[in-house]
């Protein structure tokens, strides 16, 4: 006969601090912010339920919709540049760093990762100095580049910012790809070599398919990071995301709407509405990854 068990108080004690802090300071604000997006102050200034009105205003009232669609478009461009530049170059660097014949791999790996650990404020200002006309002529001119005030021109400001962000964060895809490449068993590569495959052929035919799960992880991390970006634009272009809102992302639009800027007063419920849209976008991205990408990989049994 087993003795009657005592109520396991120790489990509660172990779980309480984490669950409490996490629920109060993360889950509650997220849910409450979503709730707020369905409210608006009425004529007396009392908060009242308005259904999807705020969302309707955000996408259809010209006071908001112009900026909303603009920020959404800019954010997509920002994300596209990361996917097309950051991740392929990150993969190339990882491929080079995983090659046994390369000397000083740890050394290169550590140095190339350095920008990733710096604060975005520093990175933004460093590049603002380098791209400024005052320094640009001397600094970039000597590298054979004719400088233009890229950050100040409407057509080039957003791509320039995206490339600065790529420069900073390339270390992350590089490391994740590197880890996946190192994990590929030697026998597979050796078998391919016996069959007469060469370096580049092995990479595209054998290694790349094997690291597809990492391609998925890198994509979803890039997606979440990009649709949540704020610091770099705020640092280099202020919350106004100039020139003429050319670099306005959802994060800066959210900040301006919530806190107000220049003559426009801050609007918490509309801010919460923008956060709600960002939440939906990120959720869709993550779910697409979980149910689309990952499941297909599992079905094909390509798993590391």
């Amino acid at each position: 006969m087993t003795p009657k068990r005592k109520f396991p108080f120790h489990i509660l004690v172990f779980l309480a601090p984490a669950v409490l802090i996490y629920t109060v300071f993360m889950i509650y604000p997220l849910l409450d912010s979503l709730r707020l997006s369905f409210f608006a102050p009425n004529a007396e200034g009392v908060s009242a339920f308005v259904g999807f009105n705020n969302y309707n205003t955000l996408f259809n009232d010209p006071n908001y919709s112009v900026r909303m669609w603009g920020a959404l478009r800019n954010n997509l461009v920002f994300f596209a540049i990361h996917m097309l530049v950051q991740n392929p170059i990150g993969l190339l660097l990882a491929a080079l760093l995983s090659a046994r014949v390369v000397r000083g791999r740890t050394f290169f790996r550590t140095l190339i990762f350095t920008p990733t650990i710096l604060s975005v404020v520093l990175v933004g200002f460093i590049w603002r100095l380098i791209l400024s006309p005052l320094w640009g002529r001397e600094v970039l001119g000597s590298l054979g580049i004719t400088p233009e005030p890229w950050l100040g021109l409407q057509d080039s400001a957003l791509p320039a910012l995206a490339l600065i962000s790529v420069w900073q964060y390339i270390g992350i895809p590089m490391m994740l790809f590197l880890a996946a490449l190192i994990a590929i068993p030697d026998e597979i590569v050796e078998a391919a070599q016996v069959d007469g495959a060469t370096g580049i052929g092995i990479f595209f035919r054998i290694k790349l398919p094997l690291i597809l799960p990492t391609v998925g992880i890198v994509s979803v991390l890039t997606f979440v990071g990009n649709f949540n970006a704020f610091d770099l634009v705020y640092t280099t272009q202020t919350a106004l995301a100039g020139p003429n809102f050319a670099t306005d992302l959802l994060g800066t639009f959210f900040y301006r709407t919530f806190f107000g800027f220049q003559l426009q007063a801050g609007n918490p419920t509309m801010g919460a509405t923008i956060a709600g849209v960002m939440f939906a976008i990120i959720l869709v991205g993550v779910l697409l990854y979980l149910f689309g990408f990952q499941r297909r990989l599992l079905r094909n049994d390509i798993q590391l």
């Binding site: 396991p8 120790h10 489990i11 004690v13 172990f14 601090p17 984490a18 669950v19 802090i21 996490y22 109060v24 300071f25 993360m26 509650y28 604000p29 997220l30 409450d32 912010s33 707020l36 170059i89 080079l96 390369v102 000397r103 290169f108 550590t110 140095l111 190339i112 990762f113 350095t114 920008p115 650990i117 604060s119 975005v120 404020v121 520093l122 200002f125 380098i130 005052l134 320094w135 600094v139 420069w167 390339i170 992350i172 490391m175 590197l178 880890a179 996946a180 994990a183 992880i217 979803v220 610091d231 640092t235 994060g251 918490p268 419920t269 801010g271 919460a272 956060a275 939440f279 990120i282």
Partner: protein
């Protein structure tokens, strides 16, 4: 085996050189902006513009930028604030995280899986999206413009990944070890305490992983603790840089001052950080 033809050997060598050249070139791209800033922060104004690539010489050496920074901005106080916030949040993440991870890994209880998933939600959802309500909550709790507010928010932000990684790691600790301690009459709390040293490798990774985003964050200091007395280095540098845009000596000096501590920490902990990044991906 057939001997490789001389042509093949030559092309292999070329390929090898090409790979190294590419890596050296990209390393330069990654480092030149940082080196440029540090180098020029020690130069007089004229030399910054005329010879940006030259090392400071006896003639061009100047600390005028650093003098302005120390006169006009409270960088020592910013550093102290960043240190308090980062260490405070890491200590809380350490205790709350290891305790919760231990409970999830060690005990079978109803809702175990659910709780694990609940805590893991925060890995993918950015806490920033709850800012509107978070600010209200902080004001209600009378924590507005305090470092404690930042510590609590960063703890909530760091816990999901910490609990996830640590509980995975703790599941691999042999049961016999804990059961032996139980036979000897150790309490459940004592067993938790005995396990802690065993998870050191995972713990190092989790801590380094949380440290960098907390130290570098701009958003929450800007919104939750913006007063001069509570500014962190990142926010302090941002405000200072905004005011002194045209004083290049001061800008370069403050950039160097805020980058150096992080770079020193990186040099000290880069092994843990990189090990963490690579281990996480293999799983």
């Amino acid at each position: 085996m057939i001997k490789p033809a001389p042509f093949a050997a030559a092309s292999r060598t070329l390929q090898l050189i090409g790979m190294h050249v590419l890596l050296i070139a990209y390393t330069c791209v990654a480092l030149f902006p940082v080196v440029l800033v540090v180098l020029n922060s020690f130069k007089a104004r004229n030399a910054i513009f005329r010879t940006p690539y030259a090392f400071p010489t006896a003639e061009t050496f100047s600390l005028v930028g650093y003098e302005t920074v120390f006169e006009r901005a409270a960088f020592p106080s910013y550093f102290l604030n960043s240190l308090i916030v980062t260490v405070g949040a890491l200590v809380l993440i350490f205790f709350a995280g290891t305790m919760a991870a231990h409970a999830l890994a060690e005990y079978k209880f109803p809702g175990n899986t659910f709780l694990g998933l609940y805590l893991a939600l925060g890995i993918m959802v950015p806490i920033r999206l709850g800012t509107v309500s978070l600010l209200r909550l902080i004001v209600t709790l009378d924590l507005a413009d305090t470092l404690l507010a930042l510590i609590l928010v960063y703890t909530a932000m760091g816990l999901p990944l910490a609990v996830f990684v640590l509980s995975q790691f703790m599941r691999q600790i042999p049961r016999d070890l804990k059961d032996a301690a139980r036979v000897d009459g150790a309490s459940e709390y004592r067993i938790y305490w005995l396990i802690l040293p065993l998870i050191r490798p995972a713990l190092g990774t989790v801590m380094v992983f949380n440290m960098i985003p907390i130290w570098n964050d701009l958003w929450f200091p800007l919104i939750l603790a913006p007063s001069e007395a509570n500014k962190t280095v990142t926010l302090g540098a941002q405000t200072f840089l905004g005011q002194f845009v045209n004083d290049w000596n001061a800008v370069l000096a403050s950039l160097t001052l805020s980058a150096v501590p992080v770079i020193i920490l990186y040099i000290l902990f880069s092994r843990q950080l990189i090990r963490g990044l690579t281990a996480g991906a293999v799983k």
